[in-house]
Structures are given as C-alpha cells and as structure tokens.
Amino acid sequence: MYGEFLKNWYVAIGILMVLFLIKPLFLLIDLMVSHFFSFAGITAFFLFAFLEVSAYLLLLSFFIAIFAVVARMHSDREFIIFPVSGIRGSLILHTFIPLAGLCSLLLLVSLFFIVPQVKFMKRTLISASAIINPIKLFQPRSLVKITRDTTVYIGGIEGVRMKNIVLSNRDADNIVLTIAAKEATASVNSQGNLLLRLLDGKIFAASVREGKALARSEFATYRLIVPLQVAKRKISDRTVAESFFFGLLAISSQDRLPALFELERRFFFLLLPFLLLFTGYYLGVWMRISNMMMVVGAGAGVGLCAFYLLLLGEALVYQTGSLAIFWLLPGIWVLSLFFLRRRFFYVS
C-alpha cells in the first residue's frame, strides 16, 4: 500500500511543483535580466522559492496520494474484498496514520525553522539585488521621475556614466534645484538612498512658490542624495511570517494578535495532515474516481477549502480579537469527519 502511495505521491508532487513554481519562474526571469545572472544566485532563488512552498506541497501531495490510493481501491471493489477476507476496512486508514505523523513532523521543521528563514533570505536576496546597479534606473534619451520631487533627463549613457543630465529636485525647504551637468554617476548607499555624483555643471536654486531666484553657481563636482523608496524598511527587521517561535513570542509583547495568530496558524498546519488523512480517506470511498487529473482537481478543491478556512479563521480572530475562536473552524471540520465516519461505517 505504501508503494502505491509513493507512486501517487511522486506524480502529485511533480504536478504541484510545476504549478507552484510557475510564479517564481516569472519573477526569476525578471530578476535574472534586471539584477543577477550568476548561477549561485539563480540556484539560491529557486531553492528558496521551493522551500517556501514546501509546506503546501507536502500537505497537498499527501492528501492527493491518500485520496488516489483509497479511490482506486474503492473503484476496484477492494473495500468489499477486504472485509470478506476478514480484514477490517479501518486497517487501511490506520496504515496511513504513521505517514500523517511523519508529515506533521516534517511540517514542524518546515514551518518553525525552514520557511521563516527562507522567506527572510529570499527577501534579503531580492532587496540586495534590487539595489546592486542603480544605473538600471536610467535609460539614454529619457526622462525619469525618480521620486515625487525628483525628475531627471538623461542625454546618454556610456558604460556607468550618464551624459548631459538635466535634473530638477525639490528639497525639504521647498527649494527647487535645477541642475545641468555634463556627466553623472549613480550609486546606492546602505540606507537605500540614491547618490548622484554630478560633474562639470551649473546649479540654480529657486523658490517657485514665491517666484524668486535664490542662488546660482557652477560646480566641478556636486553630490545629490535622493531618498529611494526601495529600502524604506530595514532589511534586517523580520516580519511576522519570517519570525521563529521565540521571535514571535517576542513580537507578541508589542503586536499581540498578528504574532499569536501566526503561531496558531502554524499549529493548525501541524494538525492538517491528520485532518487531510481522514478527509482523503472518506472522500476516496465516497467519490470512487481513478483518473489522476480528477484526483488532482479534488486535491486542489480541498486545498482551496482549507485556505478559505484559514482566511475565515483569520477574519474571525481579527474581528473578535479572540484567538480561541479560530479553533471553532477546525472543530467543525472534525465534526463533519465524524458524520462521514458514521456514513461510511463499513470502512471505519
């Protein structure tokens, strides 16, 4: 039985991996051409993307494999043959309980250790690559609005140098600077600000609101700092989803509900293999389908239901402010499994 389970599991995980990795693939193409081309960078990105969805892959493939095995057995009348041969139908269910336990254990490692770290590392990788080459912001013979208050015309680009720059920028005192320079280079500092080093040009300051020219000067080198929006949040700060167990407990002292709900959500995921085992078993008996595409479709349907259950739970928690109310929904799920057990008493 484990052999058949594994066979179905391989197919299911293959299909799910293709489905789950399409989105990272699109993002990767953009990242590859925009920011990094190194083999190590691409491998790291794909590894992170895979590990990030590993919990969902594990759960859904587990459910699909169970469902496929039971549905095939039922369509081949094996649930009639077993009791006739003196073997209880529930034995099949019990055979898979250690697998559900193993799945739960893997989820524990994945959700509490791997996924938070991977999410953090993926964000760090993307943030770092996004500020590697600020020259990518600029194109020759174009007009770029860098921020709400900074607009740059670039006459040309030669290597890393921009040529014939005309820039208008409003500073904190509402003074509008108009700068024309023959050359400029750009870099990004650790705070995420764009540093423009302008060479050989002239600068003109004015208060447009008052209609007054304030100053005019020529320069050999002028440095202008433009705050970019890419690094508003410090990269080292972990979000709730990126925090480990103790990190969440620490966050909960300031931001109680999101942090504790995240913990609750992770514990709910640990229970899911058992819930999915029973659901897959009874659905397999009920639906009696053997086509793999239909099995995958049913798996996607149950996955979607579980996702909505989580959403509904989240909405209830945030609306009421009570964390306990979340467990009402898994409770209803368990109750419906009891009804299914009664309905299919002959295999229970």
Partner: protein, 351 residues
C-alpha cells in the same frame, strides 16, 4: 472560402467559443475568490465595475492560449475522425486546411489587439490630481507646483537652457495651448548676467518644439494602460525634443507583438498536423499549456532583456516571433517529405 474550409472554420469557432467561455468563467471564479479573500481580510466588497474593466486585459492575455488549444483540439478531432485523410484523398492538402487555422489566428490577433487597447482609465489622469509636476529636456525645465487640468498650471517656473545663457521665468499661472506655454503676470531674468534686472510681463508666450500638454499627459500616465495609438502619438511628440524612452517604446510595440503571438504560435503548431497520431485530450491540453507557457516566458524574457539594454530595444518585443518564424520556415522547407500523398500524385482538384 470553399465549403470545406467553411466547415473547418466553423469547427474552429465552436472550440474557440467553448474555451473562451471556460476561461472567462475561470477568471470570474478566481476574481470572486480573490474578492472574497479581501472581503474576509479587509471587509471590502466585490466591485462589478472593476470586474468588467479587467475583462479586456484578460481577453488579451488568454487569447494565445485559447488559440493554441483551439487549433490543437480541432486538429485532434479531425485526425480522430479521419477527416484530414479524407480531405487529402479528395485533393485538399493539409496545408490548405491549415490556412483556415492561420486565418483564424489572424482574427484572434485582431481581437487581442482591440481588447488590449480598450482603456477604462481617464484619458488624462492630470484632471484628478493636483500635485507638482516637472518636465525636463536638455533645453528647458518646466516646474509647476500645481496643475488643475491638461491646460492650466499654477506657480510655474520655466528655465530655458540656451547656448547664449539661461533665462528663468516665474509666473503664478500658465496656460498650455498646443506647443505654446502662455505665462501670465510673471517675471523673467537672465541667470548668468547678474546686472540684468528682472523684467515683469503681463503675458508672454514661449513656444516649444513639443506639445507640452501631451508631454505632461504622457509623463503622468501609465504606458501599460495607454492605448496603442495614443501612446504612439505621445512618444512621437516626445521624440521632437530628443526624448526617446526605450522602455516606453518597447511597451508600445509590445501592444502589437503580444497579440501577434496568436499568429506565430499557430505557425509553430504546424508539425502537429503531420504527427498523424490520435491526440488525446489530456495530451492536447498539456501540449497547449506547455507551448503557451514557453511562448509567454520567452516573450517576457525578450521584453526584460530589451528593457535592460541587453539586446537592441527594437528587437525585444519580437524575440519569440523571430524564433517561431525561423522554426516554421525550417519546418515548411522539409514538410514535403512528411506529406502522406506527395503533391505530384494528387488528383487535380478541377477534375
């Protein structure tokens, strides 16, 4: 179009309608699911207006996939019913049948182009905003603290960077008339000459080689959302002052090249006509999805490479099309060998 070709075209249309309805239904389902999620999370309600506004862009996006699936399904069904062989025995070459699919792909190209150019966004987004605005070229800089419409600016500074010196205009208000900026009740002075006093004017007209209204409009609008002809006019207008933004030009040609994926993908399907095996439904779906995904990925790759100056910008939207055309030409040059009945022994259609 002959009766037989009309029959094939009708088959194609039926399958296209089926896939189209299925895809729109799926989109609606996903939209509802997405909206239900945001309703649960934020309490925001489903917006029919947004839903219908999204449909043209969905149609544009999904047509290549639907075209591929339709052609594959029609060919699979005809092969299953031995219709292709019957046509060949009657002197109608497979390529003639395939020309119907090519014609159909041109129709879907047109549909995708039209759908991609339907814009629900306001024609001039400036109307709703009132923030500062800056426009710069190598000859001038216009700064307006506020703008109330396409034609009216408030608290304006105009810096003219001329070879003989820099002049600066300040005016509490200005009006745009085509390529003329009319500044009212302001001052003008030369920056270089400190002895040059400030000159007051009641009204002064400054002419530019560019239509400023259109230029401002382009600068604050999203090129992705702008219809092809509007964007083309805006970019042509900007090129008069030496602004040739490559990314926006790529976006412009993307509006033509993406719909043309329908046509070029249908060219790539030609080998399926000669496989002469029964194409199962699941095989057809997997092949259709894989081919469309591959096409979409290589198309996006071309766009990204072009936007990052790794390939010439004019080639970026056409990368996939070039490969598809080359592959199809290569295949067509060898296809005679694959015909079941060589053209030399085919009965004359007229007899």
């Amino acid at each position: 179009m002959s009766r037989k070709k009309r029959y094939v075209f009708f088959q194609v249309l039926v399958y296209f309608a089926l896939f189209f309805i299925a895809c729109i239904a799926l989109f609606s389902l996903f939209q509802l699911i997405g909206d239900f999620s945001s309703f649960l999370r934020k309490g925001s309600l489903f917006s029919w207006r947004l839903f219908f506004a999204e449909i043209p862009s969905v149609v544009r996006t999904i047509t290549p996939l639907i075209t591929v699936l339709t052609i594959l399904f029609v060919m699979g069904t005809m092969e299953r019913n031995r219709e292709l062989r019957i046509f060949e025995i009657n002197g109608i070459r497979s390529l003639e049948i395939y020309s119907v699919c090519i014609f159909f792909s041109l129709c879907t190209t047109l549909l995708a182009f039209v759908a991609g150019n339907i814009s629900f966004s306001p024609s001039f987004p400036l109307e709703k905003k009132s923030s500062s605005l800056a426009f710069a070229t190598d000859q001038m800089v216009v700064w307006a603290e506020r703008h109330h419409s396409r034609e009216r600016l408030e608290e304006v500074m105009l810096v003219m960077l001329e070879p003989q010196g820099t002049r600066v205009y300040f005016a509490p208000s200005a009006k745009i008339e085509g390529d003329t900026l009319i500044l009212s009740a302001g001052t003008v002075r030369s920056i270089e000459d400190r002895n040059d006093p400030e000159h007051y004017f009641e009204e002064t007209r400054v002419e530019f080689p560019v239509n400023l209204g259109k230029a401002f409009s382009w600068f604050v609008s999203d090129p992705e959302q702008t219809p092809f002809f509007t964007l083309y006019a805006a970019l042509k207008n900007l090129s008069k002052v030496g602004i040739v933004p490559r990314r926006e030009w790529i976006t412009l040609w993307e509006k033509v090249s993406y719909p043309l994926l329908n046509f070029f993908l249908s060219l790539l399907l030609l080998p399926f006509l000669y496989i002469r095996k029964k194409l199962s439904r699941s095989y057809t779906i997997v092949a259709g999805f894989s081919l469309s995904l591959l096409a979409y990925l290589s198309f996006q790759m071309g766009i990204s490479l072009g936007k990052n100056s790794m390939i010439p910008w004019w080639a970026a939207p056409w990368l996939f099309h070039i490969f598809a055309a080359l592959l199809s030409l290569l295949y067509l040059s060898k296809k005679e060998k694959l015909d079941i009945i060589p053209s030399t022994v085919r009965p004359n259609k007229k007899t």
